[in-house]
């Protein structure tokens, strides 16, 4: 596009975008309404503003009829004179052969020019329509792609939530199993400790009884036989009963 064409387009755009004051003004509307009311009362007028009655139309037609009749008479007289004075009728085939190529060429040029103009206009229209169609297709594909991506994203999020839930359940189960194992170990250790303590107590009791016996035995050597023992010695039967307790 040349600079002059740019200026022309700019000029058209300037005229198109030229600011226009808001209107029409109220007084103009009132004046127009008054004029319309005035005209509405009068008989209909032609679009040019001059009312011409039907009889006035007929007047020039009548004079035209007279002129036409005179013209017909003159043409008939001229034809008769020409017919009598003409040397011979023209060769129509020769005239046709002479003018036909030129007429054909002119007709071809005009047809070509008309077709080119029509094609140019059709091209612009088709271009506009294709652009609009392209925009619409693009919008539709974008909407479809967005919807599909939303669906896939939702599915992936659902899978992620499910996997997290499964992992949490597994962890809870493992934790419960570990707690159970710890409890079992604690109970087992407690039992073992109880039995160890019991064994230790029995053994200690036995050792103590044996020591008492030994001490009594030693004292029996040291004290006279009439003298009673400083304390009663327990029989082995009693000690066994205490152990059982």
């Amino acid at each position: 596009m040349t600079e002059k064409e740019d200026i022309f387009e700019k000029a058209v755009e300037s005229l198109r975008r030229e600011p226009v004051p808001p209107g029409p003004p109220r007084e103009l509307v009132d004046a127009t309404m008054a004029k319309l009311a005035e005209r509405a009362g009068s008989p209909a007028e032609m679009d040019t503003g001059n009312h011409v009655s039907q009889t006035e139309w007929l007047k020039p037609l009548r004079s035209f009829g007279r002129v036409a009749a005179a013209a017909v008479v003159l043409i008939a007289a001229g034809y008769a004179v020409g017919r009598w004075s003409a040397p011979r009728p023209p060769d129509m085939e020769q005239i046709r052969a002479a003018i036909e190529p030129a007429i054909r060429q002119d007709l071809l040029d005009e047809t070509r020019q008309y077709v080119q103009l029509s094609l140019a206009n059709g091209y612009l229209q088709v271009k506009d329509e294709l652009s609009e169609q392209y925009r619409q297709d693009l919008s539709r594909v974008a909407i479809q792609t967005l919807a599909a991506s939303n669906t896939i994203t939702n599915e992936l999020l659902t899978q992620l939530v499910e996997s997290i839930s499964t992992a949490q359940v597994k962890d809870q189960r493992r934790f419960a199993a570990a707690l159970e194992q710890i409890e079992l170990n604690r109970l087992r250790d407690r039992n073992q400790l109880s039995s160890a303590f019991a064994t230790f107590a029995v053994q200690t009791e036995d050792e103590l009884m044996q020591t008492k016996k030994d001490v009594a035995h030693v004292l029996s050597y040291a004290l006279p036989d009439s003298r009673p023992a400083p304390y009663d010695l327990e029989t082995p039967d009693n000690s066994n009963e205490r152990i059982e307790k």
Binding site: K4, I7, S14, E18, P19, P24, P25, L28, L36, N121
Partner: protein, 171 residues
């Protein structure tokens, strides 16, 4: 019975905009506005009008082009300074605004040199944003003929614009 008050309230602003944009001053636009509505009244008496918007758009364009033609025949293309002050200033730069105003005036001066139908088709297309089908319907011609008419009008207007630019450069 046609409610002209409602028609003016509905279509009046569009008619006013078209008239003012083509004529460029308040007085001529007001005359054109009144003539357009009187013509619409006459048309509505002769035939049933189904689309007042299209009728008024076509009538105001035709009347405005007629007034442009009469104005430039009288060599009276002066622009009222009061009207320029009445218009709200939206251009960022005054120099650019003046340049745009000059370009618009040049298009107005050249529009009246086009044949009436071509000028009308050009205005309907490039100033009123009507489609080819709407222009064809408004002018009573086929769509292809409307396209050819617009192509010729634009080409001729561009040619006239270039000629006037050359004359200005020489002057």
């Amino acid at each position: 019975m046609i409610d002209w008050q409602a028609i003016i309230e509905e279509h009046g602003p569009a008619v006013w905009q078209t008239a003012y944009r083509l004529l460029g001053n308040h007085a001529d636009a007001a005359d054109c506005f009144q003539e357009t509505l009187v013509s619409a009244l006459n048309v509505s008496r002769r035939q049933h009008v189904r689309n007042f918007s299209a009728l008024l758009t076509r009538l105001v364009t035709a009347r405005a082009i007629d007034q442009l033609r009469q104005r430039f025949h009288r060599s009276d293309c002066s622009r009222s300074t009061d009207d320029a002050s009445a218009v709200e200033d939206e251009a960022p730069c005054p120099a650019e605004q003046v340049q745009q105003q000059e370009l618009a005036d040049r298009v107005r001066q050249l529009l009246h040199q086009l044949p009436a139908q071509e000028a009308e088709a050009f205005c309907l297309r490039y100033l009123n944003d009507m489609s080819y089908q709407e222009i064809a319907g408004a002018l009573g011609i086929s769509t292809n003929a409307a396209g050819v008419l617009l192509h010729r009008a634009k080409a001729r207007l561009r040619e006239l614009f270039e000629l006037s630019a050359k004359e200005q450069e020489r002057g």
